[in-house]
Symmetry: D2
Subunit: 465 residues, 4 copies
């Protein structure tokens, strides 16, 4: 997963991009980068770490110009060394082209082979570099055709922003896998993965890009075009953005994420109530909103049974094994005074491997909870994602080969229930068939690559710096 942002026409375009990335931090904590253009020169800064660490006053000041794109990264394609941090920048005929990409291409291998046959050399292992190679080969006509020509060759999930000279281009793939929205800030425009980035910079939300739409921003001018492939494919927006990934204060896919999650919790309460429970609690913070919806639906008190340590990020997203283990342990602390001797309903948004839930439940038991009934606000996750969510492989997904009863046994709860697929789709504002829910069903809407490694191009390259 990644967060992207584009800024056209702002005196401090890079600072606006920085603040936008700050709001999109939850989409990628590993690295961040910004490229800007001042009418003459292009500037770029990229660093490992969270957004706040990847830039400082000095580096932001050096990113001059009125147009900028930015990227916060959680590696899907390409391992996370500094060379692979986005935006990717290259020169072609004296003109700089920078790209930032959210999603995952599915025909990467074919494209590499084709491009190398034509003499391309590769410096990174990122999808973004492919976009540039395709662009400089797409020769016919104006920028719009040039871009459409290049994009017609890629398959998979891509919400992407380009900086070509002073022009900012934003594209959402024809399936609309990942969100991308458009806002207005003074005279210029903003493109951002989620609307929460617009809120932070006081930009006005205009609308989400349509699947297959390309907007071209030049100063205060906006042109909208559609890719030739638009409309030829089913729209398959990632429902997991709603369940877990997007920020609750964002509006994506035509709905408010917080409201969606409360409705998922309420629907879960209808499908799977618990009798005689003392209270409902969430696994914080991911289960907070579903737990609130669940408690309100049934009129059961909501309590805080675990405290989240605010000095720690999301477990799901941290890459290093040592730190992950440590962070799981320090992340949540139970409150015995609340739990002791109680019958508790625990609401969580999803279960991936099951190991985290198991350790959380163990912690609740050790703090004195007498009965634990777990409720999950989505169906069992059975299949990996090839469109940008970094699930583990199929065999690591506990629901791929365990029944609900077996999972309940594994995580040691008194009962376990998941929301139904139909229940989940019914509470969405958009029709159910406009979503990708392949992680629950294994029915992939776009052909997945045969070589599924994310290190496709990396076999022979080790960079120390």
């Amino acid at each position: 997963m990644c967060g992207i942002i584009g800024v056209s026409k702002h005196d401090e375009a890079a600072k606006v991009a920085f603040m936008g990335l700050y709001a999109l931090q939850h989409r990628g904590e590993e690295a961040a980068g910004i490229a800007s253009f001042d009418g003459k020169d292009i500037y770029i800064t990229k660093n490992q770490g969270q957004v706040a660490d990847a830039f400082d006053e000095r580096s932001l000041a050096s990113l001059k110009g009125y147009a900028a794109i930015g990227h916060s990264r959680y590696s899907t394609t390409g391992s996370s060394n500094i060379k692979n941090v986005q935006p990717f920048l290259a020169m072609h005929k004296g003109k700089p082209i920078a790209v930032a990409h959210n999603g995952n291409l599915t025909n990467t291998e074919e494209l590499y082979l084709k491009l190398e046959e034509e003499g391309a050399i590769f410096q990174t292992t990122m999808d973004s570099e492919i976009f540039v190679h395709l662009l400089v080969r797409a020769k016919n006509g104006n920028l719009k055709d040039w871009m459409a020509n290049a994009l017609s060759q890629v398959e998979g999930a891509y919400s992407v922003v380009f900086l070509v000279g002073e022009t900012i281009i934003g594209v959402r793939d024809p399936h609309g896998f990942r969100p991308l929205c458009l806002g207005k800030l003074n005279d210029g425009y903003i493109l951002a993965s989620e609307s929460c980035a617009l809120d932070l910079i006081n930009a006005q939300f205009i609308r989400e890009l349509e699947p297959g739409e390309m907007v071209v921003l030049q100063g205060d001018k906006l042109e909208s075009h559609f890719l030739p492939t638009k409309g030829k494919a089913r729209i398959t927006q990632c429902i997991f953005e709603n369940i877990y990934f997007a920020r609750p204060d964002s509006n994506i896919f035509g709905d408010n994420v917080y409201e969606v999650r409360k409705r998922l919790g309420a629907q879960l309460a209808k499908e799977h109530p618990v009798k005689g429970a003392d209270f409902v609690m969430a696994i914080p913070d991911s289960g907070n909103y579903a737990a609130l919806g669940y408690a309100q639906e049934l009129g059961i008190p909501l309590e805080v049974g675990m405290i989240r340590n605010h000095y720690i990020g999301r477990t799901f997203i941290q890459p290093s094994q040592f730190m992950r283990d440590f962070r799981v342990r320090v992340k949540l602390n139970p409150i015995s005074a609340v739990l002791k001797g109680k019958k508790v309903i625990v609401v969580e948004d999803s279960i991936v491997r099951g190991t985290t839930s198991r350790s959380r439940i163990e912690v609740l038991r050790s703090a004195g909870a007498k009965e634990i009934h777990m409720r999950i606000s989505c169906p069992p996750i059975k299949s990996p994602c090839f469109y940008g969510i970094d699930f583990p492989s199929k065999k690591e997904l506990i629901a791929s080969d365990h029944s609900v009863a077996q999972i309940a046994e594994f995580i040691k709860v008194d009962s376990l229930e998941y929301l139904s697929l139909k229940g989940m789709l019914d509470v969405m504002k958009s029709p159910g068939n406009t979503f990708c829910y392949a992680c629950f069903t294994g029915e992939y809407p776009v052909k997945i690559p045969s070589n599924q490694s994310k290190y496709l191009l990396e076999g022979q390259k080790h960079i120390n710096k």
Copy 2:
């Protein structure tokens, strides 16, 4: 404010101290340090930054030994350069003495003058260095008497841990201003500012130290002594630890902090209900528990009207002005879908300068809230603290010279009410007169210093490294 920890008899004492400090991170984000002893040599590592940044695998490994003390620091006395990071370590007659201190002494100036007259030279501006100078001058008898003799000279607030050779000593001042608790881990003992640190390391909570108690830990042996000054002073535990500072999952001053905060919220609801409100919301996260108590007391729905960005620490605690401003803005984002057109009760734990509340309220209005009624779960804060809480000066405290009505006008709410002093004290488990509540009343239980600068000793010293 600071967090302190002591570990006696553990194979990896420094790692245990590190984990404990991690749980005490909220008590001080500026710097952290650990000193350990392996029976022969003493080891020390100190660094600026949060606990997770101040140490790495390598530095933890180099902190050998079976006894250790640690400190996480938020500067009260001494500015925050590296020399002033605790523990303070010195050698005397070939024996290392290390100290870590939470609190604030009130007779620092007199002690400096006296010690310098006797030939002491000072390397830092920390209270901790004073403790060591007093110790090496306190000549009579055994370690216990030596320590009691030294401590009888200091006044003010001190929960403090010493490492003298392999002996760990923990002391809580006779007033009991700051918390300090004792736990057991395997064969050894743990001293920690709050019980949440014991939870994280799976230590068993034994009890809190009594005001004026000194425990001496040597391997698996524990001796308890009382300072000669014990019992001669009123016990005055800091009530602001309950309201704001301590972690909700800690048990301090004989009560659970989460439960206290819910009771404060419920009492607030009884004293100051709002009619016809659509819902109750907290300013997250400090107001979360009082808001929950408030909503449950009145049976009004609780909603999440603002999302907290998890990538940012507590505003109250960040020292740099630029970062503070930016962080205030990115910390909380309102959810328009929830707020639009609604009459809202907003619960917060306290108001200090009023500027933060004002900007929060402005944000809620801009997101569409129609009516905003603010409720505060403690009385108005009118006087600074000289015992370790880093409030601003009296004139910066808005309630020092504004009536509640004037504050309501300043922060632009439709109504504002505070919890009463009596209501606050009544919901505590300990009797009301065992608390210090000078910040609300200005009645200081221990004489405050005439020179109130925290940079007393710093006039002439600038250290770059």
Copy 3:
């Protein structure tokens, strides 16, 4: 200027490359890099700074493999940010290609235009990247033909080493501008800019590569080929390597550099003796050997009139203005006890801008020298170099528009004489017409570029990291 090295078949190829670069440090202090190959993967480390700083134990250990190339850099083409540090590494069809280059191409602009027309994108502004683009386009036949085909397109000065999989290739351009020699170490081969690198690693000197020669090293096998362009151009070895640039303990262009410099000094003494001088002294260390030759030729005592501070590198090579000024002042200290009241002959290897000589002379005067007669062991430098020596622009070269008498007046010496062009060429072992001496005559043996900026490709690119 740069130093390059290639190592085939050694268990610790990268460490050998590191040691070789250490000996070539004088050819480039700005940055250094090494790429190695272990039969499966390629490894690369590049850093700013001197060789000893650019690598450490850990980074050397991570450069696994039995084949390696290395580079120490002083920027000629491409400004000195980290992206432009060599070796340049790219992937093509899953195969890594790394290049390290000493010299300066003269048809860079044409090559950029041609390659971009064919769809190339550029990541750096280094000549080395051009080599790789040419290589992956040169499709016919085997590696040897592939390489010859690519190299036939470049013009100018290039001594270059390639790492293509496990194969090391070394090439010296048909003019032979820069040195490149071949050595044997155990079973494998070494390529190095100068023979002093072979000495340091105890490799056996075999011979210098001929102008236009390409050697292909694979393990213990060596093949020698000639470029199609070999022999079509005049051999024009850089005479300034002999005068100033190469290390005195190296053998290049068929001669020992120390001996050459002593002969230049002796010839200078024959052409321009001084009567009645008290002693001869050098401007250390560049003038040391010519001064020795001068003194021995005339039987005048040699003294040390100035002490060089060993903690400082060559002024000529340091890029930062502030440090340059400071370093000029601290570099050399006169010994008054030696100079006071004396008539002194001062020998220097060359004068570039004249400002350094002027300040040195001033220093000698202030230390008490009564008469100063300066002698320069090469002719006046009148024209810049486009083949790899980083002279300043023509107008900054003092001899380009000042007579010898005017220069003498500028630097304030009692007399000034330069060695004659004929005298200089006569003392070389190789015939005079096998050298490039364009810096003295302005007659360039290879067409120079119309755009002479070294930042050709950089107009629009600013990289912070």
Copy 4:
């Protein structure tokens, strides 16, 4: 060994100190520090590394004030972690006292015991801290008496500068072991270990301090006093400063170091000529001046048989074992073209362990030298130094238990001769009995400590930062 400097009354006192330290770099490469005073506050910066690395523009700018002292350190007492870097700074009664010290005290242990008995605590293991503890205890009278009182308690070698408020005090111990000279710069005064520091900053050399003299500098005022102990002890200036340690362009102990070394070489030639040698060469750079004197005395040609790599400091001074080994190998490269088949006289200033000489000789042989006759410009070094020169222990000194013939065999030369003690003393300008030559004779002029470890106080302390 260390270099010290003091600056009174200069607008940029710290920058002057920095430049002075730069000239004294050869006296200590491990760390450097400067303390300055601006009439109100004291400022200090200390770092590991060479002078040029220990400071930057920013840190120098922050060292405000018109009085400053500085120190470049090579550890003798106290291991080289950052806490032990000088100047040592402490506060006493609101007044800062900073000290920088060159030399080595011999009654450290007694002083520690005494001070700790009186309640002193120690932060470092440096002699300098002792000076401050003594000072704050020396209560009677004015600063002069206060200082004299304190200094009368220390024994051993000390050239030391103090910064007490705005007053600079310089003291040379009554034996005059280490040099210390006084200069004038504009209205103010400079104190420096060697005169070369005065040259670099264009200060005028006034004179050396006498043994036992104390100068007190306050702005443009200078007072000279004598310690009570002056004249009660034999003057014993360190003759090894002349032979090896001091810079050749310095004037110390009433003589010019370069001239002394040439005279030592000439005397060596008289005592031990070699018949039929082809030429004389030095081991550069330490043997350069003696070799020049040797060659001129006998009229034999001087050649450069080895090239010193300028990117490397003095072997003698580098502390890390790994780097020492590597640096020995890269430091000097022989020139075969000069050496092949020749009978060579090799002049060196001294032999310590013999291992370095042995490896140098081996290198010369491998480059083709046929006969090697080594000549040393001082007597055999048989005993360690307790007054500040960091020789190894007695058993590591090859001459302590090997005859000259055995040493010749060990280092594998055709002949080996040392200068005689009498010859050495005779060429000095000062009388022979005003020098310490205990390293040659073992007759120590001041009682040496029984515990000879330099880590006396360090047994139990490991500091990571």
